[in-house]
C-alpha cells in the first residue's frame, strides 16, 4: 500500500510540478485523507452488508425469510434503511443535554471506526502499523463507552440512563479479562504491533503456528477474549445496555434519524472488528495455507484468509445473538469476576510456563517451527 502510494505521489509530482515544492506534511495529510476515506467506505460497506446478513441469518434461524424486498434477496435493504433514516426527523428531546446528546453518536462511531486503522488486513494492506497497535485498539474502543454513557445520560431519559450505567459497568469490568487474554497473545508473539503479532504466528501449513495452537492455555485464553469482546461490544447475551425487553431500547431510546444510524453503524462495524481482532490475536491473522507475505499473490491470499476468518466470527456472533437469552446485571459481573478473570490469569501464567518449557514450538509444542 505504502509503495503504491509512493509511486502515485511520484507520478503526481511529475505531472504537477507545483506539488514538488509542497512541504512533506501535505503528502502526509493527503495520505491520511485517502486512507481514511478508503477505510470509511470499506467499514460502511462491511457494516451495511453485515446488517443485511444479520437479518437474513436471523430470519432463517427463525424459520422466516428475512428481508427480501429491495434488490436480489433484499441485498440493498441496508441502503434503503440508511436512506430512510437520513430523511427521518432527528428528534432531540426537550429536556436533553443538547450538545452532549448530539455529540454522543459521533464518539461511539469514532471509537469503533478508529480501531479499523490498525487492522492488518493483509501483510501489505493496512492503514497504519503502530508499534503499540493492540494498546491503541483497546484505548480507542474505550471511546465507545464514553459515547454510550454520554448519550444515555444526555437524553434525559431514565431508561437511557440505566442503559448507559449498565454499559459503563460492563465495559469497565470486561476490559480486565480482555486485557489479560490479550496479554497472553502478546506474550506468545512477543510484540504489541498487530502486524508483528501476525508474522510471529507463521508455522507449518500456515495454521499450526497460530497462537491458539501454541499452548492449550492460549486456546482457553482465546475463548476468554472472545467472550469479553462480545461483552464489550454489547452483543447478546451481554446486550444489557440496550436490553429491549427490559429497558425499552437502553441508551439509544431517544435517538432517531441519522444519529440512531450512527449507533447501529457502530454496532455492526463492531462485529467485524471483534472478528478481526480475535483473528489477529489468536487465529493467525492473514496467516493460512498458501499465504505468503513476500509475493503479491501470497499477500492477496492472506487478505482472503483474514477476511474469511473475520467473517466466520461475524457469523458466530450473529448465531450466538439469535440463540441465547440475556444475563442479568449481577450475573454479568459475577461471570466476569468469578469466572473470566481467574481463568484469564491461569491462562496467562500457564502460557508463560508452557513457553518456558516448549519454547516457540508450534501445535502445542509438538512441531518445531522453522529455522
Amino acid at each position: 500500500m505504502k509503495e503504491l502510494l509512493d509511486q502515485l505521489i511520484a507520478l503526481a509530482v511529475e505531472k504537477v510540478p507545483l506539488l514538488g515544492q509542497a512541504p512533506d506534511w501535505v503528502f502526509y495529510l493527503l495520505w491520511m485523507l485517502v486512507a481514511g476515506a478508503a477505510l470509511l467506505v470499506y467499514a460502511s460497506l462491511i457494516a451495511g452488508i453485515t446488517s443485511w446478513v444479520e437479518r437474513r441469518i436471523a430470519g432463517r434461524m427463525q424459520a422466516r425469510i428475512g428481508p427480501n424486498r429491495v434488490g436480489p434477496r433484499g441485498f440493498f435493504q441496508w441502503i434503503a434503511d440508511g436512506l430512510k433514516s437520513l430523511f427521518k426527523e432527528d428528534v432531540t428531546p426537550a429536556n436533553a443535554d443538547k450538545p452532549l446528546f448530539r455529540l454522543a453518536p459521533y464518539l461511539v462511531f469514532t471509537g469503533m471506526f478508529g480501531a479499523w486503522a490498525v487492522l492488518p488486513y493483509s501483510a501489505r494492506l493496512y492503514a497504519a502499523d503502530l508499534n503499540v497497535g493492540i494498546l491503541y485498539v483497546m484505548a480507542i474502543t474505550s471511546l465507545v463507552v464514553i459515547g454510550i454513557l454520554m448519550g444515555g445520560w444526555a437524553s434525559g431519559n431514565k431508561w437511557g440512563l440505566f442503559g448507559a450505567l449498565r454499559s459503563s459497568a460492563q465495559i469497565v469490568s470486561y476490559e480486565v479479562p480482555a486485557g489479560l487474554a490479550i496479554a497472553t497473545a502478546v506474550a506468545l508473539s512477543g510484540s504489541l504491533s498487530l502486524q508483528e503479532m501476525v508474522r510471529a504466528q507463521a508455522g507449518p501449513l500456515g495454521i499450526l503456528g497460530w497462537n491458539i495452537f501454541k499452548s492449550p492455555f492460549a486456546l482457553v485464553a482465546f475463548f476468554v477474549y472472545f467472550i469479553a469482546a462480545v461483552a464489550e461490544g454489547n452483543r447478546t447475551p451481554f446486550d444489557l445496555p440496550e436490553a429491549e425487553s427490559e429497558l425499552v431500547a437502553g441508551y439509544n431510546t431517544e435517538y432517531s434519524g441519522m444519529r440512531f444510524v450512527f449507533f447501529f453503524f457502530a454496532e455492526w462495524a463492531n462485529l467485524f472488528l471483534i472478528g478481526a481482532v480475535s483473528t489477529t490475536l489468536f487465529l493467525g491473522g492473514w496467516q493460512g495455507p498458501l499465504a505468503n507475505p513476500d509475493t503479491w499473490w501470497g499477500v492477496m491470499i492472506g487478505a482472503g484468509w483474514f477476511f474469511l476468518k473475520a467473517c466466520f466470527f461475524v457469523f458466530v456472533l450473529i448465531w450466538i445473538r439469535w440463540t441465547l437469552p440475556r444475563l442479568r446485571v449481577d450475573q454479568l459481573m459475577a461471570m466476569c469476576w468469578k469466572y473470566l478473570v481467574p481463568i484469564a490469569f491461569v491462562c496467562l501464567i500457564g502460557t508463560m510456563l508452557w513457553m518456558s518449557v516448549f519454547g516457540d514450538r508450534a501445535f502445542f509444542g509438538l512441531v518445531a517451527v522453522g529455522p
Binding site: 436471523a58 425487553s245 441465547l324 437469552p325 442479568r328 446485571v329
Partner: protein, 373 residues
C-alpha cells in the same frame, strides 16, 4: 467521606413497553435497579365485557368470550357455554364433549407456547419465541380448517359445538401431535436447558404455597408453587373424569426454589405433554353422533344463578351468571386467572431487579385482555 446519597426513582414502565404483554402499566419505584415498589395500573384494555353480557342474548355473547382471552378462545367459549348449560340444564352430546376437549387442549398448547416463548423473549432470546410461534401456527391451521378462524374461534355453542370436524381432520391432528411431541425436546434443548436462562429464573421471585393461595393464584401459577390443584381433576367437568393425565406441579426444578419463575415455566412445559396425552386419548375414543343438543332458539333460562369455573391455560376462568328468565342475563361476573396473577406482582417484585420484574410478569403469564376484560 460522607456516605453516597441515593434516591428512590419513579419510573414509568408501560403501557407501551416491549415486555408488558399488551397494555399493562407499572409505576416503578426503584433504588438503582432494585425495585422498591411496582404499582400495577390496569384498565387500558377495559372493554366492559361484563356490561355487554347484560345487553346481548345468551348465545350472542359467545364471540365476546373469544376476546376475553384471545390466546385461549376455545377455553373461554367453553366456560361460557358450560355455565349457561348448567343454568339451563342442557345435556351436551358426547361427540361434542370430545370435540370440546380436543380443541380446548389444542388451544392450551397454543396458549402455553405463546407463554413460554414470550418468557424466553423477555429474557432476551427472541428465537425461541419464533420457534414457538412456528409450532403454534400449525395449531392455528388446524383450527382454521375446523371452524374457519385462526384466533377468535367462536367454536363452542350452548349445548354443543358449531361445526363437526371436516373429513381427515382427526388424522391431521394426530399428525400434528406426532410432529409436535419431539419438538418439545427440541425447544427444551434450545432454551429450557440453557444455563443462562435457568440462572435467570430458577431462584427468582418464589411464591410459597400459602402465599399463592392467599393471593388466589390459579392454574399453572398455583401449581408452580407446588399445590396440586387442577379443576380438570378436582372439580371435573366435561369428559375429563374419563381421561388419564397427570397434574404437573412445581418442585424446584434445577436446584431452584419451589415456586420460582422457573417452576411456573416448567409446569407449562410439562402441561404441553399432558395436553398431548389427553388429545390422543380423545382421538382414540371419540364417538359418532350429534354435535349439538336441542336448544330453543331464544334461550330463556329459568330464574336462578350459577357460578361455573373451568381450567383455562391461564388458570381458572369463572362465569357467575344471574338469570331472571329473560333473553339476556341479569348480571355476569367474570373471574380470570391473570387478574389474581396481576395482584401478586406488587408483593412479589419487591427487592428484585427490573430484569426480574420482566421475568415475573412473563412467568405469571399475565395478558392484558384477561386482566381488564
Amino acid at each position: 467521606m460522607s456516605p453516597l446519597q441515593t434516591d428512590i426513582w419513579t419510573l414509568n414502565m408501560g403501557p407501551q413497553h416491549p415486555s408488558t404483554h399488551g397494555v399493562i402499566r407499572f409505576v416503578l419505584k426503584t433504588d438503582g435497579e432494585i425495585i422498591a415498589d411496582a404499582d400495577p395500573d390496569v384498565g387500558f384494555l377495559h372493554r366492559g365485557l361484563e356490561k355487554i353480557a347484560e345487553l346481548v342474548p345468551y348465545p350472542s355473547f359467545m364471540p365476546y368470550t373469544d376476546r376475553l382471552d384471545y390466546l385461549a378462545a376455545i377455553n373461554m367459549n367453553w366456560a361460557w357455554a358450560l355455565s349457561i348449560e348448567r343454568l339451563a340444564g342442557i345435556e351436551v352430546p358426547p361427540r361434542a364433549e370430545h370435540l370440546r376437549v380436543i380443541t380446548a387442549e389444542l388451544n392450551r398448547i397454543a396458549s402455553h407456547l405463546i407463554s413460554v416463548g414470550a418468557l424466553a423473549s423477555d429474557m432476551g432470546a427472541f428465537t425461541p419465541f419464533v420457534h414457538a410461534l412456528r409450532d403454534r401456527e400449525r395449531i392455528n391451521d388446524l383450527f382454521e380448517e375446523l371452524c374457519g378462524a385462526r384466533l377468535t374461534f367462536n367454536y363452542c355453542r350452548i349445548g354443543g359445538v358449531s361445526l363437526d370436524a371436516p373429513p381427515g381432520w382427526f388424522d391431521r391432528v394426530r399428525g400434528f401431535l406426532d410432529y409436535y411431541e419431539p419438538m418439545i425436546d427440541v425447544f427444551n434443548r434450545l432454551i429450557t436447558d440453557n444455563k443462562i436462562f435457568v440462572e435467570r429464573l430458577r431462584r427468582v421471585a418464589p411464591v410459597s404455597a400459602e402465599m399463592a393461595i392467599a393471593y388466589g393464584l390459579v392454574g399453572p401459577n398455583l401449581r408452580g408453587s407446588g399445590v396440586k390443584f387442577d379443576l380438570r381433576k378436582d372439580e371435573p367437568y366435561g369428559i375429563y373424569p374419563q381421561l388419564e393425565f397427570e397434574v404437573p406441579v412445581g418442585r424446584g426444578y434445577r436446584d431452584g426454589v419451589l415456586g420460582s419463575c422457573f417452576d411456573r415455566y416448567m409446569v407449562r412445559i410439562e402441561e404441553l405433554r399432558q395436553s398431548i396425552r389427553i388429545i390422543r386419548q380423545c382421538l382414540d375414543r371419540i364417538p359418532e353422533g350429534e354435535i349439538q343438543a336441542k336448544v330453543p332458539k331464544v334461550l330463556r333460562p329459568a330464574k336462578g344463578e350459577v357460578y361455573c369455573r373451568t381450567e383455562a391455560p391461564r388458570g381458572e376462568v369463572g362465569f357467575y351468571v344471574i338469570s331472571n328468565g329473560e333473553k339476556t342475563p341479569a348480571r355476569v361476573k367474570i373471574r380470570t386467572g391473570s387478574w389474581s396473577a396481576m395482584s401478586i406482582i406488587r408483593e412479589l417484585s419487591k427487592g428484585w431487579m427490573i430484569a426480574d420484574l420482566v421475568a415475573i410478569i412473563g412467568s405469571l403469564d399475565v395478558i392484558a385482555p384477561e386482566v381488564d376484560r
